[in-house]
């Protein structure tokens, strides 16, 4: 097991230490927002008459995923033994932007582009939705006051890791592919930078990396999940909005939620079979 410690230590170098430093700096904000977030979401859930007790129980430890212990190591990782799944409980999102910041730092996401982002919806009476996502929600959201707002909510977005993905279908050289553990990956050493996948993605999850000149997007922090950690955004989420699970494990709590609750996906009419499931989507969300 000493090997595991070494791996952990290696991983904690550079980006991870940067990340943790950042995390501690925003600790105060995190605790405050987390408490506030739980208060709000519980109230919302009650108002909506939803039975979210199961979900709440999972998060009672404060923040969803305290992944200090990796579930497995990189050496014993077999992609054929996993089927990763991502769940976003929108009822819980407070729009703090911790996930976006965590992703930026962890994956060195270039300026202006986002591997994940958070959208804020104001539903105005009779006028549809007013949506904003300043810098993808990187620095949270400033309060806005509109008249005749009937409801507001935050929607975190991420690559949907579709099973029938238009992006890997159209890749002319097979650089985009769906891995056995159900993650949409890009071989950036093979990508020719044609941008066809960016056109084909209905969710605008992909972008052309301005320095590498290849397609880029969320990989669910593949370098982390193969070592047994949660993706950075899941790890950073203070309210348990973002959850990461494994559909091959019978006792996986996320698998339990997806199997028993009524989950939705974005743009189901596209028939892309997204592996990111949502709780509490609104019809205005696309």
């Amino acid at each position: 097991m000493d090997d595991n410690k070494e791996i952990k230590d290696k991983e904690k170098s550079m980006t991870r230490s940067e990340f943790l430093a950042y995390m501690s700096a925003s600790f105060t904000f995190m605790v405050g927002s987390s408490i506030f977030g739980r208060f709000v979401t519980e109230a919302e859930a009650k108002a909506a008459g939803k039975d979210n007790t199961k979900v709440e129980k999972k998060d009672s430890s404060g923040g969803s995923n305290t992944d200090t212990k990796p579930k497995h190591t990189e050496q014993d990782y077999d992609p054929f033994n996993h089927a990763w799944i991502y769940l976003i409980d929108t009822n819980k999102c407070i729009g703090c932007g911790m996930c976006v910041r965590a992703c930026k730092i962890e994956n060195k996401v270039p300026d202006k582009f986002n591997r994940t982002w958070v959208e804020r919806y104001h539903i105005l009476e009779g006028r549809g939705a007013l949506i904003d996502s300043p810098e993808g929600g990187l620095n949270g959201f400033q309060p806005e006051s509109y008249s005749k707002v009937t409801k507001t909510f935050f929607i975190p977005k991420i690559c949907n890791h579709c099973k029938k993905s238009p992006c890997s279908q159209v890749c002319p050289v097979g650089a985009s592919y769906f891995s056995p553990d159900q993650v949409q990956l890009i071989d950036q050493k093979r990508c020719i930078g044609c941008g066809y996948c960016i056109q084909a993605c209905p969710y605008s999850s992909r972008f052309m990396h301005p320095d590498k000149h290849v397609a880029d997007k969320c990989f669910w922090c593949y370098h982390r999940i193969t070592k047994g950690y949660d993706p950075a955004c899941v790890h950073a989420c203070p309210t348990g909005t973002r959850k990461f699970g494994d559909m091959t494990k019978p006792d996986d709590p996320i698998r339990m939620i997806i199997s028993t609750e009524r989950v939705q996906v974005l743009r189901p009419e596209m028939l892309t079979i997204p592996q990111v499931k949502y709780l509490g989507l609104d019809m205005e969300v696309r």
Partner: protein, 397 residues
Amino acid sequence: MHGNEIMNFLFPNDFHVDWSLMVVLYPYITGLVAGAFIVSSLYHVFNRDEFKPIARFALLTSLAFMLFATVPLLNHLGHPERAMSIIITPNFSSAMAGFGILYAGYLVILIIEVWLVYRVDIIESARNTTGFKRLFFKTLALGVYNTSKEALDLDRKLIKIFAAIGIPAACMLHGYVGFLFGAIKANPWWSTPLMPIIFLFSAVVSGIALLVIMYQVIMKYSGWIIDQKCLASLARWLWLFLIMTVTLEVLEIISLSYKQAEEWEIIKPLLSNQLSISFIGIQMIMGSLIPFILLMVVVILDKFLHERVRNTLTFIAALLLMMQVFAMRWNVVIGGQTFSKSMRGFKEYIPHFFEKEGVGASIIIMILPFIALTIMLKILPTFKNVFPVDTGDDNKK
């Protein structure tokens, strides 16, 4: 989605246009390739003898543009050094994987066809020249110097066969480009099975229009008589293909508008704001309606027209149609990217002159085929049986 939608939101990654002016040029150039080839095939396969004066020129035009069709794409790619992967190790679930086969196949057909058409002239040139020129033409002749009647008959048969194979090949080459866009279900402005057909018909329009312009310019420049029968026939075909193209283009919009499906919520503001000038103004009115009227005059009043009037009217119509087809490519490629996939907001795209994929690069890329064509015309005797204007029009008619 609900009628009075507020148009204010773009997905964060949707702030710029990925497929630039280069991706507008690519279908424009392959369209000219396919269009010019089809004119030459009208003579070689369908025996439209009125196209004899420009059949060879059409073939050369097609080849000249074909040689440079990939240049805008290579300039656009993030990693052009990996471009050959598309041909060597294609992913066949991608429509783009067909590129290598279609492009290489068509290029081979085109080169064989050009060689067969010019074979006798190459041999003659090899016999009549000396030194380096002789060596050059001997190389071009590939060691075949048989010009007997049997050999020429075989040539004619082969030309017919290759021209016949070339028609579906040209249609595939360009239909494929339309399919690249038509098969993207994420984009409501592109996603229609009509797309390859619209691309194909507008390709023929641009090809014929280019030939009308180039033929007149070369004849004027060289002081030769413009074959009026050929020009009138070109105008007729141009008119026919214009009508079919615009019908399809308008049909697409009418069908979207009438269905009032979800996509119309974004396409309606797209057409009335973002593309109001380039689609309605340039593509539909200046590029379609005016040439339609001009060509109608040429076609219907053919007998009463003085040749200068015919020349001028077809020339202007052809110029406008070249612009129309470019506007159509622009409206499809850029228009399809000006709205966000959120279907709730728009972005701007104005190409700069000096950027990598900007206006300057586009102008240079568009000049290259003309330089190639000029060199080819110098080497290969393309216009035969032409008469200088001085010998008097009356005799020749």
